[in-house]
């Protein structure tokens, strides 16, 4: 976290086990460099993403979220990424409508062979979020979060 001046974006990435996580692995083994701002959570499928995960992450202190899964047609579970795509599209539009800036939540298709694309996606997302600055809306104001309702 650090102070405002030394702020570095903190980005949570949900990567599907079969494609994007393997893509990230490939980026690593191929020694492709990318921004160190992401923290990865491996999920079975991009269709597994519950919108609550994304909201909880934003509330808990990340500045942006990336969800990445298999390309259309490549889903290990045949259609998980298609189902996820609808949830993602509606959630993204809804949060933007509420005023969460465009770019805070991003989505990508990265296959197991696309180590380079993975690094590019991460760099782009990091750049976008760096431009947006720290997320202030919605984030819990402190570790305590709660103020007494009387004051």
């Amino acid at each position: 976290m650090g102070s405002e001046e030394h702020w570095e974006p903190k980005i949570l990435a949900f990567l599907c086990n079969w494609c994007s996580y393997a893509g990230a692995d490939l980026a690593g083994t191929s020694r492709v460099q990318y921004s160190p701002n992401i923290r990865v959570i491996r999920v079975p499928c991009s269709g597994r993403i519950n919108p609550l995960f994304i909201l909880k992450a934003l509330q808990g202190g990340v500045d942006g979220v990336l969800v990445s899964g298999c390309h259309p047609g490549d889903c290990h579970y045949l259609s998980g990424n298609y189902a996820g795509r609808r949830k993602s599209a509606t959630l993204k539009r809804f949060l933007e409508f509420l005023g969460i800036e465009q770019g805070r939540i991003q989505f990508s298709w990265v296959s197991a062979a696309e180590g380079v694309k993975f690094s590019q996606v991460v760099d782009e997302v990091t750049k976008d979020i760096r431009r947006l600055g720290p997320l202030k809306k919605f984030k819990k104001s402190s570790a305590f979060g709660v103020q007494s309702s009387e004051s």
């Binding site: 305590f144 979060g145 709660v146 103020q147 007494s148 309702s149 009387e150």
Partner: protein
């Protein structure tokens, strides 16, 4: 002791109070919605809504209240900090029903065996300025529950709106502390007469026919009555009535923590929520709306009276006004009475 406070001086009066006290009063959040809140400047005070959604209980028993905070550093035990009340407090503009309700909650929170320090401390440090109700609503039935629109019980000072001024009565020792106040002028007999007139008129308006007397005994016989099978039907199980009720005082205690820091918080809870009585094993002693509705009404009109000798309802009418499906507590009482051949003839929808 009786005084007159010119409304032109009202803001200055408040400003002076703010110098020395934390002041709590009704504040309008949006048109038609107000709550009791701590105020920073006199302009925030809004006395126009007779029954603000949230009652004055919030001043003594906030919806969310931090009981203590803690921090764990290294291997040392946690350091725990509690919140202290720094300044004396004033509750301004509470209506007689809300003030009555505070004494009802007080009986529970400062019982014989255990005292709730959070409530008790705030109660001790608060001076209550009551405000009479010149225009009671049709949903008000305080006169049926032992109060009235000008019931002064519990108030340290009591204000009556005379139009251009407030008629001020100092009623208790805490109230007498205000006898030297540069904005208070000696009240004359004309003021007194006007106040009496307003009081009489308002008192006549309030519904006295809600059959509260003897309800405890009648409900004793109704524990397994088929009435409950019907009464709960339209209740959707939200917490509006219990949260807005000035006498409901149930709460939940939870810990909120992030890493090494955290706090224990208590939040209002409602007996109408299934989760309220749900045990970890999955067993729920009050599994359906029937038991939960019974709990709500019985607590007010049977259980509480058994323990403390009066009903836990002050007739403010909030639960009637704000219920999404118009569950009318008055009619429930009428029904409970009519079945035994007394009071108004009841049918319950």
């Amino acid at each position: 002791m009786m005084f007159n406070l010119d409304k032109k001086d009202f803001d200055h009066f408040l400003k002076d109070l703010l110098e020395t006290h934390d002041l709590f009063a009704p504040v309008q959040l949006t048109e038609g919605v107000s709550v009791f809140k701590k105020i920073d400047n006199p302009g925030e005070v809004s006395l126009s809504q007779l029954v603000p959604q949230k009652s004055a209980k919030e001043v003594f028993f906030p919806q969310s209240e931090v009981m203590f905070r803690y921090q764990i550093a290294g291997n040392q035990g946690p350091t725990v900090s509690e919140q202290k009340i720094e300044r004396e407090r004033i509750l301004l503009g509470a209506r007689p029903c809300d003030i009555e309700a505070i004494s009802i909650i007080e009986k529970v929170f400062t019982g014989e065996d255990y005292t709730d320090v959070y409530f008790a401390e705030k109660r001790k440090r608060t001076t209550i300025i009551g405000l009479g109700c010149n225009h009671p609503l049709s949903t008000c039935f305080c006169s049926s529950t032992g109060g009235g629109p000008f019931n002064r019980a519990g108030s340290d000072l009591f204000f009556t709106d005379l139009g251009d001024a407030y008629f001020v009565e100092l009623l208790t020792e805490k109230g007498m502390a205000f006898r030297v106040n540069k904005f208070f002028k000696e009240a004359d007999s004309e003021d007194l007469g006007l106040m009496k007139e307003i009081e009489d008129k308002a008192s006549q308006k309030v519904d006295r026919t809600v059959p509260v007397e003897g309800i405890e005994k009648r409900l004793d016989l109704m524990v397994e009555s088929p009435f409950w099978d019907r009464a709960h039907e339209k209740c959707i199980g939200c917490g509006v009535c219990t949260f807005l009720c000035p006498t409901c005082h149930c709460f939940d205690i939870t810990d909120e923590a992030v890493n090494q820091k955290g706090q224990r918080v208590r939040n209002w809870d409602s007996c109408l929520f299934p989760i309220y009585s749900l045990e970890t094993s999955g067993h729920n002693p009050r599994p359906t709306g029937r038991e939960r509705t019974r709990q709500r009404l019985m607590h007010k009109f049977n259980y509480y009276p058994k323990n403390f000798g009066r009903v836990a309802c002050v007739g403010c009418g909030r639960c009637i006004l704000y219920c999404p499906v118009q569950f009318d507590i008055r009619e429930a009482l009428v029904y409970a009475s009519a079945k035994r051949g007394k009071g108004r003839k009841g049918k319950f929808k």
